[in-house]
Symmetry: C2
Subunit: 511 residues, 2 copies
């Protein structure tokens, strides 16, 4: 009961950070039973279908080394040398080697996050080719936007980690870009980050830089994974070479890999939720099995990204009712294999308007209520991933904060029931002045970041600001107040020495 | 399996109505287990607390006739003659007499709705003092807006019924206003509507007009309830006289009553979710017990409206994480008594912006996933109920349609799994041209009403319309294309004769 009371009080206390009231940084655990949108029988039917797909159709691995590993493991390799057909026993034995959860260690231990085991982790927008804000409009990704978005991701307490480059800084040369980006993650933030599995070289650099940032030995880093990557299956049924090289490098250092099929129903998978889910499951299992082939016990995440296209235009759609059900069913499938589950806060809006909000909210809540453990693109994603938006980042922070409060259990005890307060107030009275109310005045309820609850007249006199303009004001304030997290001077020096050396060597060359 | 296939196909076929693609009018059944945010023990603790409130504190009934009924039933009446203390056995015995579900019969039988039994019914915005649209701005409610909002509610297939006057037409004289409003519901729409329990007279008129509209006898109307009302408890712990008169009149004709405590935590109830829920439960049980006292077996609905105020300003807040958890816990409580559950699509936004969308979406999904059966204010509600917005009505229709599709079970069978399509397409291929895709081209996925999925360039060239401006265009088109539903000439004549007579009599007089 003492614990429950505390939940209603100090643990929910809003902290004033960067001049704005935010909820404090905290790990989230989902206390509710996950929603189930398919029956246990249907889960088994999807499971069965996905095993048939891998056995009968197979899947292409576009890396000779990977195909050789599969051959060695007993898989059937087609005459083309790329398509492997995977026996169900082989797949399931490998998948069973993956751990049900793991911890990602940030350079600041207070920012460690747990992936799996009922936890929910929010990762910042990743991989957008463009950035956008209300003042500057939409432009190709660049270094200044990259740095500012990392600063914002650091400043927003509700963002647990970085799920990739918030925007692609195309003004930096490709062979050394990753060195600048990883250095920025480490110096501008103290949260976990994600390098890209685009060949082994970038991964090697990122792992070494993460090791330096933590002041850890290689052995410690292997025991305590410090970064994660995500590979997308090139659906249908194909895994590209550079991603597989990245996986092999991650596996060498025991760093976690999320495997996410790109199953847009009607384009990259059948135009049915069931078909898209069966294919997603087949592809995810194949990718995860490969991870276990590379290193038994490698921490992995089952990724779901099933949505649909607009059948009239072929445009990808997100936050749809199809997306919502697929996100929940995806959780059921991941739990079928006792694996952590990754989903996304996705939407297809072009503006930070009502559509951006309702599509995102649909994606976010369905994934979270469906038991997602890792929410990629949780803050800032727009236009189906083509844009990282500064205003959307703040809007999403509001959605994430609200969701995180929804995940706090209700405290029911003599104190919170407040019968004495009702007695004091009496029929027709008012609770504003009651002792029970005054005791919890500051911490009773969630305080929003963006929502404007002023009455209409006051709001109109203030210029009738909409949510997007509030978000615009807030990100500017967050950036103006931004302070980099402390970093040991010796660590910074070692990091800079490494980056300089690798740049001299030409980075990853023309790769 | 045949049934499942049909679900993926014809039952989901979008119909072109009023020049726009809408989902067809259909009854909704929630196929998923309701979310539970409190444990069974916590439900019992809330139940216990609410019984203690009624036993120890009591509740005021501001109608002598009601108090006399309570006294007769064995309740303890305080010296003030208004506060009654209710023994738990008395309350629970009465509540147990209420049916778990009932059907509301519209004048068009195709528009009948089931309240309870896993069904979900969406009712149009009600009781707003103001109307608003992007062209005309915000203005006090008037007759033209009333008629237009009823037409919109009729035109939108996803709106099942009317939960009250969408806006209060204050340009009509109060004693006869209800006659014009009920006549408009009957002539402009064929859906179920709700009169107000503001004394017995208005209810009597509404019931008689509903009887005429259905061409039914009084006995038939009693067997087949045709309208419903809602009473709010004047929280804390007070029920006003005119509402009780309305209840007695509804009971006389066996017409359903929804009982909704107005428990804004921190103002009308304790500043805790548990306290607000305990009080909500006490007040709802007392109101429902009174309905059963008036007529054993009267169809009733357990209403929940628990939200919180902004503690800094006292402004009511909606769509908050507190609201979401209370909406779900409210469903658990209603099911504890085997009663249908009413909630609302509430928000506190001043504009049809991202805030309006995310607050509404939070309210709507939490209530629906928590097992709500009747969603009042489902379309058009803004500013915590101060405004009925034309654009919000269309925006909400999008949210409701999307939710209704989310509630369609996923069909998992050999056909939907589409393994042959995957075989045909092969690794790296595309499903657009696959036979499996072409077969379901038109009906595969939800088609949005408002969402704009064009790519950024095309969207910008089209003037970069946001969701609110799409909604503006859509309601205008719906009104331009509006056709009144057929009404028998004899029925209309009888209705008009009744209205004319009652107007001559002065309506409900000065009441």
């Amino acid at each position: 009961m003492a614990r429950d009371t505390a939940r209603d009080g100090s643990s929910r206390r809003a902290r004033r950070a960067a001049g704005l009231i935010q909820l404090p940084w905290r790990r989230l655990h989902n206390p509710y039973a996950p929603m189930q949108v398919v029956s246990a029988d249907q889960v088994e039917a999807l499971h069965e279908a996905s095993l048939r797909i891998l056995e009968e159709l197979g899947i292409e691995f576009l890396l000779p080394e990977a195909v050789a590993m599969w051959r060695q493991a007993g898989a059937t390799v087609a005459a083309d040398g790329v398509r492997v057909r995977l026996d169900r026993a082989l797949v399931l034995d490998l998948v069973a080697k993956a751990p049900p959860s793991f911890t990602l260690h940030a350079r600041n231990p207070a920012r460690d996050v747990v992936i799996g085991d009922g936890h929910l982790v929010f990762a910042c927008v990743a991989s957008a080719p463009n950035a956008s804000d209300l003042d500057g409009g939409r432009r190709p990704g660049n270094w200044q936007d990259f740095e500012n978005l990392v600063k914002l991701g650091q400043a927003l307490n509700t963002v647990h980690c970085f799920g990739g480059y918030p925007v692609e800084p195309i003004d930096l040369p490709a062979p050394t870009r990753h060195l600048d980006c990883i250095r920025a993650f480490i110096t501008l933030s103290d949260k976990v980050f994600r390098p890209y599995a685009l060949g082994g070289g970038r991964i090697r650099d990122a792992i070494e830089m993460a090791r330096i940032a933590r002041g850890a030995s290689e052995e410690q880093l292997q025991r305590e994974p410090s970064l994660f990557t995500n590979i997308n299956i090139n659906s249908p049924l194909r895994v590209d070479g550079p991603m597989l090289q990245g996986v092999l490098e991650m596996a060498r250092f025991n760093q976690p890999v999320s495997v996410t099929p790109f199953t847009l129903a009607g384009a990259m998978s059948p135009a049915t939720i069931a078909g898209a889910l069966a294919q997603q499951n087949a592809e995810a299992l194949a990718g995860i099995a490969f991870c276990q082939l590379a290193r038994p016990g490698l921490p992995v995440v089952y990724g779901g990204f099933t949505s649909n296209v607009d059948m009239k235009t072929g445009a990808p759609a997100f936050g749809t009712p199809e997306y919502a059900r697929a996100a929940m069913a995806g959780g059921q499938l991941a739990r079928r294999y006792n694996l952590p589950y990754r989903s996304s806060n996705a939407n297809a809006a072009n503006a930070v308007d009502a559509q951006a909000a309702y599509e995102s909210q649909t994606s976010l809540w369905s994934a979270a209520l469906g038991g997602a453990n890792l929410m990629l693109h949780a803050a800032g994603w727009m236009e189906g991933g083509l844009v990282a938006s500064f205003e959307k980042m703040v809007l999403d922070a509001e959605l994430l904060q609200s969701l995180s409060e929804f995940l706090q259990p209700i405290a029911v005890n003599e104190d919170t029931l407040g019968i004495d307060a009702m007695r004091e107030v009496g029929p027709g009275g008012h609770f504003f002045g009651a002792a029970h109310t005054l005791q919890r005045y500051e911490t009773a309820f969630y305080q929003p970041l963006v929502s404007d609850w002023r009455n209409f007249e006051t709001w109109r006199e203030a210029g009738a600001p909409d949510a997007a303009s509030h978000a615009n004001r807030i990100w500017k304030q967050l950036l103006a107040d931004y302070q980099p997290p402390p970093l040991d001077a010796a660590v910074l020096e070692e990091l800079d020495t490494y980056v300089a050396k690798r740049k001299e060597e030409g980075g990853v060359g023309s790769a």
